[in-house]
């Protein structure tokens, strides 16, 4: 029963503690309401299928799922999502949404193509809340042809996506926390004689493979294992607290030798996400142990190993790794920037291209056709540079003809 014990320690205690205490989760997620909300969502969608047919529902869900990563508002909200009242007040909110939606279209300036001045465009953007990074939110509120149940489905997918957003930003810490906890617990259980040697060996075998990190030139290498990095960092923090070297004391004067390993870790689990955790706590000792180095690629010339695990490289390697774990830096910056309300109602999106990284053309076309299907009119996506507004590439999509 070693494996069951391991999984309970890992998930029911390690992950559980992290979910309950990490500040991102506290800010964004409502654990008390999620199960009820899921139950509501399930029932709602089942009812839609009875009423409108599975194929219809499937179509909306497919499009919504394609946009899930674009269903997130990334900047902190004032209060956490309250999923309980979300489910309860569904009908009430729907009426309100309907009203707002109608107003929006009714109060538009009358159609007058000749007076398309800059101030009109500014006003129109303001009225529509543009630019808007949360595409699902925008479509739910503003897509002209969607029926109420379709808007509700977009909302469900969007709220689920938002609910899981903290997980993306804390995956390494979350797994590290759970792994650190199971490791401590299993060792204590063995010490206490509750786990026999056979069970302990079985556990260690499993644990070792979970935190296995292939070297960069190993055929199995496919990046850093978040379990390995998280666990190693947390073990390292405990070491710094309990038995620091002179180097640790220079780098981590606040915690080195203070002895309160668990307290330090619990604070870190509350206050950080992967990116900031690395920036704060990755030590020279661990950089050496993991033999980290950074590779520079300008896209043209040969790859350059520009920083290694030495005195001059620690800070740069640490910064590079922190950036690598920063979700925000790796997701394309796409926003809805305009709607041509006077003309053909075309929706215009913009992708700001960072470091020359363009969208995959085939993927972009696929996703764009889902947006067009929900929006009901043509959609254009423009890729622009960050320094100038020069257009690098344009994609167009039209809704499927019925």
């Amino acid at each position: 029963m070693a494996m069951q014990t391991l999984v309970m320690a890992h998930a029911a205690f390690g992950h559980n503690h992290f979910f309950k205490n990490n500040s991102l989760f506290r800010q964004w997620t409502d654990a008390g309401g999620i199960l009820d909300y899921m139950e509501f969502a399930k029932t709602y969608i089942a009812r839609c299928e009875e009423k409108y047919g599975e194929a219809e529902v499937e179509r909306v869900l497919d499009s919504a799922h394609a946009l899930m990563a674009q269903g997130v508002s990334r900047y902190p909200r004032k209060r956490p999502l309250d999923l309980q009242s979300e489910a309860k007040r569904q009908a009430e909110r729907r009426d309100e949404a309907e009203r707002t939606f109608n107003d929006l279209w009714r109060t538009l300036p009358s159609r007058d193509v000749s007076t398309k001045r800059a101030s009109d465009i500014t006003e129109r953007r303001q009225r529509l809340g543009l630019p808007e990074e949360n595409i699902l939110y925008f479509l739910e509120k503003n897509a002209p042809l969607l029926k109420t149940w379709q808007r509700e489905i977009l909302r469900i997918v969007r709220l689920v996506s938002q609910y899981f957003y903290p997980q993306k930003q804390t995956r390494m810490m979350n797994e590290g926390c759970a792994t650190f906890v199971h490791y401590q617990v299993m060792n204590r259980l063995h010490e206490q004689g509750f786990l026999d040697d056979g069970a302990m060996l079985e556990f260690l075998h499993s644990h070792t493979s979970v935190v296995f990190q292939p070297e960069f030139d190993d055929p199995r290498f496919s990046g850093l294992n978040p379990y390995a990095v998280g666990f190693a960092m947390m073990q390292d923090i405990a070491r710094i607290c309990d038995t620091p070297t002179a180097e640790d004391r220079t780098w981590f004067p606040d915690i080195a030798g203070k002895g309160d390993a668990m307290g330090t870790l619990r604070d870190a689990w509350v206050g950080y996400r992967d990116e900031s955790f690395i920036r704060q706590f990755l030590s020279p000792n661990l950089i050496r142990k993991l033999k980290l180095f950074s590779v520079f690629d300008d896209g043209n010339s040969d790859l350059l190993v520009n920083h290694i695990h030495d005195e001059r490289g620690y800070r740069s390697v640490r910064a590079a790794l922190a950036n690598q774990f920063d979700v925000i830096q790796h997701e394309p910056e796409i926003e809805i920037v305009d709607v041509d309300l006077d003309g053909d109602r075309r929706l215009v999106l913009q992708h700001k291209v960072h470091n020359g990284v363009m969208l995959d053309a085939a993927e972009a076309r696929n996703v764009l056709s889902h947006i067009a299907a929900l929006w009901g009119y043509e959609v254009r996506l423009v890729e622009v540079g960050t320094t100038s507004d020069a257009v690098l590439k344009t994609f167009d999509a039209a809704p499927p003809t019925k």
């Binding site: 029963m1 070693a2 494996m3 069951q4 014990t5 391991l6 999984v7 309970m8 320690a9 890992h10 998930a11 029911a12 205690f13 390690g14 559980n16 503690h17 979910f19 309950k20 205490n21 654990a31 999620i34 199960l35 899921m38 139950e39 969502a41 399930k42 969608i45 089942a46 869900l61 689920v160 995956r171 906890v181 617990v185 204590r188 259980l189 206490q192 509750f194 786990l195 026999d196 056979g198 069970a199 079985e202 075998h205 499993s206 644990h207 493979s209 979970v210 296995f212 292939p214 199995r220 496919s222 990046g223 850093l224 294992n225 978040p226 379990y227 390995a228 668990m262 307290g263 619990r266």
Partner: protein, 118 residues
């Protein structure tokens, strides 16, 4: 419950192997709880340990880990990958960003069909 066997051992001892029963699980849970809450000072949501089959686990995974997500049929497009993942007991993590081997923690889900839910 068919998987439960009577020779899983007393609740005061954990051995290797896959045999288990509810009493033994509860015993292990209590022991872990003493360490995690008493010594490590963790602060957790109430746990609910449930028995589920590997098929249910499959559904749970394909609906991003939520046991109550809308009907599994909707996840048809991601099911084959998940199924491979679970059946082979496996080498790839389902997360695209990391194809690191193993979460043996995941493989254990298959062999021992139960799940923690918070």
């Amino acid at each position: 419950m068919n998987d439960a066997v009577s020779d899983a051992g007393a609740a005061d001892k954990v051995g290797s192997g896959l045999n288990w029963n509810f009493d033994a699980l509860q015993g292990a849970y209590d022991r872990i709880s003493d360490i995690a809450l008493g010594e490590l000072k963790l602060d957790i949501y109430p746990n609910q340990i449930e028995m589920i089959t590997s098929e249910q686990m499959l559904d749970a995974y394909s609906s991003i880990g939520m046991p109550l997500m809308y009907r599994p049929g909707h996840s048809a497009s991601i099911l084959p990958a998940m199924k491979r993942f679970i059946d082979t007991g496996c080498v790839a993590s389902p997360m695209k960003s990391s194809s690191i081997p193993t979460p043996a923690l995941f493989t254990s889900w298959k062999k021992t069909p139960w799940q923690c839910k918070h």
